[in-house]
């Protein structure tokens, strides 16, 4: 069977779900023409009136989706780049995340906000960012960040079926880089469940998005040096799968957390805290974080961009030193 890219897995899943449920509609900038990454290619023609171009106003895209979801439809909003979602921070933080809570379940919001995140595409400061830490900090919104095409497919279906707001993060560098035969059976991904992608006894690497792929490449290289790594693909950041994370940490006693965001207060900080709090007695080394430097955002020039981003070499280097601890 032919291999499917991440972007095609997303596009075809949207198409299938829209055909199954006429309450689903798409809203976002340029989505009628297929979107800047082509995630909605051909859908406006196939589903007339259900793919809606929005004005350039992100708070509006999310706020309008909230209203439509409250009414009982199933909006799927696209924020063109995750870097622009912060205009909608208020609608997500003050409204969407609390809708069910503040009504004690009297109302809820079945909505999905899809957005491309992450660096490695020469996107400079405002087309490269990792935004997950801000939004995973909001109880009431689920945050999903898959890595493989098949998981994009299962988790997008799950996000659409979920009665709660789901922020669906798509790593833009992986859109056409990562391919997979969708028939390949890794077990259906579920929201709130991480996956052990590779098993090894020397240390655990925890990652998501592009960094998961870089971590797998590093683990492959390290295996040839005799260092065996467990690699955990988090898949969902909120609600987080504590069990899988802690099991892997306890089994290997050493954990390297890799994320693309700036280091301080990034999502990896929460992972490190959980491991320190609940697996301290099992650790043979301090939990190590590998992330971007604490500068405002990823710079444009490729030399500085490469400097900013963790990659397989940096991961392997960090893993070696951790293994030797």
């Amino acid at each position: 069977m032919a291999e499917t890219t991440v972007i095609e897995a997303i596009r075809s899943t949207l198409e299938e779900e829209m055909a199954l449920d006429d309450r689903i509609f798409l809203i976002g900038e340029d989505v009628e023409a297929g979107g800047v990454f082509r995630a909605t290619d051909g859908l406006s023609k196939k589903f007339p009136g259900r793919v809606i171009d929005s004005p350039l106003a992100e708070s509006g895209i999310v706020g309008i989706s909230i209203g439509a979801a409250h009414y009982g439809l199933r909006p799927i909003a696209e924020i063109q780049f995750a870097d622009f979602i912060h205009s909608a921070f208020d609608q997500l933080c003050s409204e969407a995340s609390r809708w069910c809570y503040r009504t004690s379940g009297d109302a809820h919001l079945p909505m999905v906000v899809r957005t491309p995140w992450g660096g490695g595409v020469h996107g400079g400061q405002h087309h490269s960012q990792s935004i997950e830490a801000y939004y995973a900090h909001m109880p009431g919104i689920k945050v999903v960040a898959p890595s493989f095409p098949a998981d994009y497919r299962s988790l997008l279906k799950a996000a659409i079926a979920d009665p709660n707001p789901v922020l669906f993060l798509e790593h833009k560098r992986t859109y056409r880089l990562i391919k997979q035969d969708l028939a390949e059976n890794r077990g259906e991904a579920r929201i709130g469940k991480a996956r052990v992608t590779r098993t090894g006894s020397d240390l655990t690497i925890v990652a998501y998005g592009l960094m998961l792929h870089e971590s797998l490449a590093a683990a492959e290289a390290l295996a040839s040096e005799g260092i065996e790594c467990t690699v955990v693909d988090l898949l969902t950041l909120n609600p987080l799968d504590h069990e899988t994370l802690l099991e892997a940490a306890k089994a290997t006693g050493k954990v390297l957390i890799v994320y693309e965001d700036t280091l301080t207060g990034g999502f990896g900080a929460e992972l490190a805290a959980i491991i320190a709090e609940h697996a301290f007695e099992y650790l043979d080394a301090p939990v190590r974080r590998l992330a971007g430097p604490d500068i405002p955002s990823m710079p444009y020039h490729h030399a500085m961009e490469d400097f900013f981003m963790p990659n397989r070499e940096k991961i392997a280097e960090a893993a070696r030193s951790l293994a030797a601890y």
Binding site: G63, I64, G67, R102, A161
Partner: protein, 370 residues
């Protein structure tokens, strides 16, 4: 009620479907207009209020005011931590809500809209549960500050303390209704200070582009806490901003409940039929401080307040229906006595209702699947 005011002043009232109208000057024209014109057109007669509606209007306005007064008393007695009221805006709220179809049309109100919620079905007891944050408050079960409304069955959309976010929710509901071909209208409200927020502009723009059935209802009460309107906007009327977005803007006397009804009702009917959104600005006045924690003597001249108190919408309504001989004063006194009794009962009853358990804080973060 007693004898019809029209009969009392010698106007013939048909025995079937009587037309009883507040504005006596319009009565003769209205009766003949109704006879001549088909119902499918908006005519003045479609927007006249009958005696029962006028009674309801007065009842809800006075109920809102008396509830607010009792709430403030409970606050001063130390029994309610916070009160935010709508005194001076009852005509705008009641007039607008009466123009909607209860339980069908959606309303995304703001925190001063007690009067609007009462028309839509909130009981005095529920209003008091809400004030006290009681377990059984249908709005938020003690999770939100008082006057943060929400009731899914009544189509009242939950709101936060962040102003104007609800304008976008209303646009989204309007979009959904349009996609489903449902003939409903959404009314969302805010104060004039809130119109400076970006969400106001994003909502108006989107609703106008897609001709959504939304009424953006601005209750211009002259103040955003301490800031008077000239500090909030450089134009005299919020309604003028409608033109910039390609939607119709209209100013109405927000101290006149009948005028508000007769402005919102045709707009709602048109919007429901696909006529697109409206921006209606009801000019009213905040007769009380911003909240129970505010001291308005620091920023508001007493003379101004006294001038506006003369235009108190409840007082004006009463004088008008009495001078137009629609209701004798004793009938209105009777309504007020009934309201006083209901408000007393509601406060006493609500104070004895159970509080939330501490652990109730943990529930409903997510809606369960299935």
């Amino acid at each position: 009620m007693g004898r019809s005011g029209f009969e009392r002043i010698g106007i013939h009232v048909p025995t079937i479907s009587p037309v009883r109208c507040a504005n006596i000057a319009q009565v003769a024209a209205a009766v003949t207009t109704r006879a001549r014109k088909p119902r499918s057109h908006d005519t003045v007669s479609d927007y006249l209020l009958n005696e029962q509606q006028l009674e309801d209007m007065y009842y809800h306005m006075i109920l809102a005011r008396r509830l607010n007064e009792r709430m403030l008393a409970l606050n001063r007695q130390g029994r309610a931590p916070f009160v935010i009221a709508g005194a001076g805006q009852e005509a705008a709220q009641v007039g607008a809500a009466m123009a909607l179809t209860k339980g069908v049309d959606y309303v995304a109100p703001y925190y001063r809209d007690l009067g609007m919620n009462l028309v839509l079905g909130m009981t005095p007891r529920e209003a008091m549960l809400n004030l006290l944050g009681k377990r059984d408050d249908p709005n938020s079960h003690g999770r939100q500050m008082p006057s943060h409304w929400g009731n899914t069955a009544r189509k009242v959309v939950t709101q936060s303390s962040v102003v104007t976010t609800q304008f976008l929710h209303a646009a989204g509901i309007g979009l959904a209704a349009k996609l489903r071909n449902d003939p409903i209208v959404v009314l969302t409200s805010c104060g004039e200070g809130s119109t400076a927020k970006g969400d106001f502009h994003e909502a108006l723009n989107f609703a106008a582009i897609h001709k959504l059935p939304v009424i953006f209802f601005v209750e211009n009460n002259g103040y955003a806490i301490s800031e008077s309107t000239e500090k909030e906007m450089p134009v005299p009327h919020v309604a003028d901003r409608g033109r910039g977005y390609g939607l119709r803007g209209q100013v109405v006397d927000g101290m006149d409940a009948i005028a508000v009804y007769q402005t919102v009702k045709p707009a709602a009917d048109q919007a429901r039929r696909g006529g697109g959104p409206f921006l209606i600005e009801a000019k009213c006045y905040r007769l009380w401080p911003h909240s129970s924690d505010d001291d308005d003597s620091r920023y508001r001249p007493k003379s101004e307040l006294e001038e506006w108190a003369k235009k108190d919408p409840i007082k004006v309504f009463r004088e008008r229906v009495v001078s137009d001989s629609i209701f004798p004063p004793e009938d209105l006194d009777e309504i007020e006595q009934r309201v006083d009794q209901e408000v007393r009962d509601a406060a006493q009853w609500a104070l004895m209702q159970p509080d939330p358990e501490p652990e109730d804080a943990l529930g409903f973060v997510y809606k369960e699947l299935g």
